[in-house]
Symmetry: D2
Subunit: 340 residues, 4 copies
């Protein structure tokens, strides 16, 4: 349930209402917009106290939210959420491009890739040092040893870092160096981990589980938001289907759907999403045309030498070419229709 | 197996080879390009006669095609196939826009919609008079009675007509009026019907089955091609997944993948593909960015009154707005990267 | 909508009601049970005439059926439907075992297999002479040439024949020899063909489409039933999932679900359903434990020589072993719980 | 890679080989059967040292395992793994029946259910105190408060307890009371947690992820095994499909497939697997017929009052009836075929 305050509501009226909500055993989340304050009321059957709050001074409206996600619901927040990463507003007017190798495996190669993606126009750098691998016998990431390489890359390029966390102790290990904590597809319903990153004050990039519905994905975001961390960026990365020519089936329907249902920014990872280098650029362009706020692109200075996911990595030159195509595309999408 | 002829091969040499192929119990399909002729050899284990043909005069190369689709395979034909519909080359340089209601249910409404989509820039008109419906108790289309309405619309607007066929006898019924015969998703593996339309000299629009793989889809096209009808246009219309917020999951990965694997034109139907009006335009733009050769858009003058699929139909005004956005988009996608 | 008559309703009362239903533009289907007659009223919004019929003499109750399938709905018919094939009641007390090769490819082998499955206890023989194949270049069945072989097998073994039809003309071709017409998975939504077999007076075996929901499957059965052919046997044959170790994923949940929702008999094809010989017998036993009325088992005298689907065929000896295990299983499933 | 020792190999020969394996940077896992020892060699490309070990004294054979799972591979271990829980050998000759409510929500109800399932013949008790819930606003389990209730139930009934762990700290919390640690479907690829339970000396019940392939599931088991904990019981619990009449699609194909590929015991949860009370017993019987080593059944003394998953819980009476049917079924499945 959401309590929409009148735009002339006083601070006292808001605080008074929050106190009443608490007193009845519910939690209250405030969203203070420019114009008016909205209070999210969370708990089991909050609508039972509708009458109590509807007539309170300063209340404009009480709205029942029937979809199970609340804080991520567009009804809860009028405008789009912008998440600040470095000097970029993710979810705002300009695209947010994150690039880099799937994992940090070699210092020299990683630094070279970092420099090249920076030069091509990336706004942030991927850098996985803890890798979730289906098999325990696959390369698991450099773990602690990789953190120094990350620091070096950050120092050299000035790019903010997006780093995956696999378990609560990773958070501490990455705290010094990561600007954004990534939750991977396999952990989308690791509710313990979601709650942990909800208690941290760093933006979270939440990838969609490979067979998650849109509703489940938003409910996972809700775990982070409900702990007080509102800086969540969603990332579509392909779902599992019966198709065998591609590794995953990138679901671009998710982009306009998320933008309709939620105020959170949503980006797209066409590299994992297709698993096939030749599809990365066309699907990246399509993602932007569908309304995505940004892209997560695997780039590797020497894809053929990558310890993981080389087959889906762009070269720095391929990445440059993609970035060069994005500018005109964005402009065309916004071009006002000519009056005739 | 494919026999690529030298570019100075004579007509006699080609005919001689075809005769040899036939003599050994295989079928031969010729593809005469500007530069050279390619002969597709079809049958069980055609590679067994490789040695016989490899040294024949005029032969440049013999290529084994390991993917099971042959005539639709990009290896079989160097350039893209263009399918002529009215005065439009589908698969060529400009987008092909088909629009109209899901089914012809009311004469006045249909003609009004036809005029409006023509005005907005559509190149062809959808007009289903035979409807495949999941339930025998749903509206099944006007059948024969609708054909006169179709003729009237064609006469008034001059737009070519795309009409679905459900069974062999429909072909004859529609022959007078349809410019393109559509095979719907539920009939994608109705092999008897595919063979029938393969023997007709009209372009075929082949929709993807709702859980068909790309390979199965191309093999269904192969049924049409192998009967001698090379004018096949593929149409992605959404696959079935576990998602419940949308009716289907439009699979745009299919677009760059088909363009890589095959020379056939491929268009996208975001109306059935999502089943949700608000997603139609974003996904239409995304489809074009991904490389689609055209769009199939449901437009209804009064969607709320439609007997089927109203929830996914655009209004003529909404369609106009979409068409207006396509021009700048196409231009941007082709814009050469600025030299700096 | 269903009109349940009182058990003392007269024939005149029933006929009178049917006339009224027709007069209002609806169709009426009668189901005459031992105790009482039930009238199914079919059309668009039949509930609109509820008041007209509810008070008519002889009417006990008027029931709105909200599930879209009507005639196949358990509410329409109190008992289970039994379909007579040869001297067997499919859907009755004893299992119905159909066996044979996927297709008739060699006369001698087919007759040998026929004799062996008869000997092992099969009640009917599979014999496909028209084969639906994903690729036009695969073996398409013997077609007309196979019919004589089928006749020969029927004469020798006395076993009824189950034959697949792919198109309307097949029906006539098979009419002399087939006892049951099979609609394959790929034609489950070939509505033209379903209507055709609905007009024939032969039992129909309707396989589930490879990504059909239970509701769609029952609606396809409804196409047959609504043409007046009530002798429909459903057959689960595996759905498409992401699993790659098996060809399909046999969905046994469908068995108890169909038995709850419908009165039609339902059997299971574990051969196509798994595509892996080693899984056929365990899944056949599981199907029976789940409540299936019978099995469709691929048996080939020499699986390694089969032109199609050899990898999933049992040998006659393997089939014999399976049949031998079914008797004790059925007995155990029916064993009354011991009173202690 | 697997090194199979001769059956007269000495202990020294085995130790010597293990030392060589270690010296080359690989890990060695021993499986000591009654007849012979088998050494699993794990690492990147272990086959590179094939020649080094093949000629060592005591070696019978060196087998390359191409499937990516090693320690769970049937080739690694000749017989079936038996996991001891209480006085039951899971994976041995008799079925293992686990029952109880989805979560511990009320002390009195839980104890009543515990007594009733014990009486009906259950061998172990489910008791979730940490619940993974899709929404943060759903009941999350009693957590710490539930542990005392579990202890009480264990004391009263003597039944071993199966408890789900969601995060590493849960392990310690549950250590005193749980006999089996359950990893739920949503955590099947929480590799950090899998490694943690791999270092504990308690049996692990590993549920299949809702869209996991069989291979991924076995690779997750591999995470536990490769840490030294060999007591893993697999549990099929339904996969996600497009079907909407059931919550999940229980995949019984997994049972014979797992038994073919692996030596680990596998049980079935038809309660979550279908989400529909009426399907639980038929699918439980089918699971046993397919070869499952046991069942996990949701039972609740008053299903209508359950805070989670009531719609799929059996009553104690329904559970009793199911258990009563299992005895004759198991007997029938093993009944030797009558010699005639």
């Amino acid at each position: 349930m959401i309590i929409v305050m009148r735009h002339d509501a006083t601070r006292d009226q808001v605080e008074n209402l929050v106190a009443q909500v608490h007193a009845r055993g519910f939690r209250a989340h405030l969203s203070g917009g420019d114009e008016r304050t909205v209070i999210g009321v969370i708990g089991i059957d909050p609508f039972s106290i509708r009458d109590v709050v509807a007539d309170a001074p300063g209340v404009a409206e009480v709205v029942r939210i029937t979809r199970p996600f609340k804080l991520s619901n567009r009804e809860f927040r009028a405008g789009d959420t912008h998440v600040r990463v470095g000097d970029h507003d993710v979810g705002g007017d300009s695209l947010w491009i994150v690039a880099g190798p799937c994992s940090v495996d070699d210092e020299e190669l990683f630094l070279e890739t970092a420099r090249r993606v920076k030069q091509a126009g990336a706004h942030a750098l991927r850098g996985g040092v803890f890798k979730p691998r289906t098999s325990p016998y696959s390369f698991q990431g450099l773990r602690g040893d990789g953190v120094d390489i990350l620091k070096q890359a950050r120092r050299e390029t000035g790019l903010p870092l997006v780093c995956e966390v696999l378990a609560a102790p990773d958070i501490e290990a990455l705290a010094e160096v990561a600007d954004v904590l990534q939750i991977g597809a396999r952990n989308m319903q690791n509710f313990a981990l979601l709650s942990e990153v909800g208690r941290v004050r760093k933006p979270v990039l939440l990838k969609r589980g490979m067979s998650a519905t849109i509703e489940e994905w938003l409910l996972s975001a809700e775990y982070v938001l409900s702990q007080g961390n509102y800086d969540v960026i969603l990332c579509e990365r392909g779902i599992r289907t019966f198709e065998t020519y591609t590794r995953n089936t990138l679901d671009l329907n998710a982009i306009p759907l998320i933008r309709e249902l939620s105020h959170l920014p949503v980006i797209v990872d066409p590299s994992h999403g297709t698993g096939r280098r030749s599809l990365v650029s066309p699907m990246a362009l399509a993602a932007i045309a569908a309304g995505a706020h940004g892209l997560l692109i695997e780039v590797h200075a020497h894809p053929e030498a990558a310890l993981s996911d080389g087959a889906q990595s762009l070269t720095p030159a391929g990445f440059q070419e993609l970035v060069d195509r994005l500018g005109p595309l964005v402009k065309a999408l916004r071009k006002p229709v000519a009056v005739t």
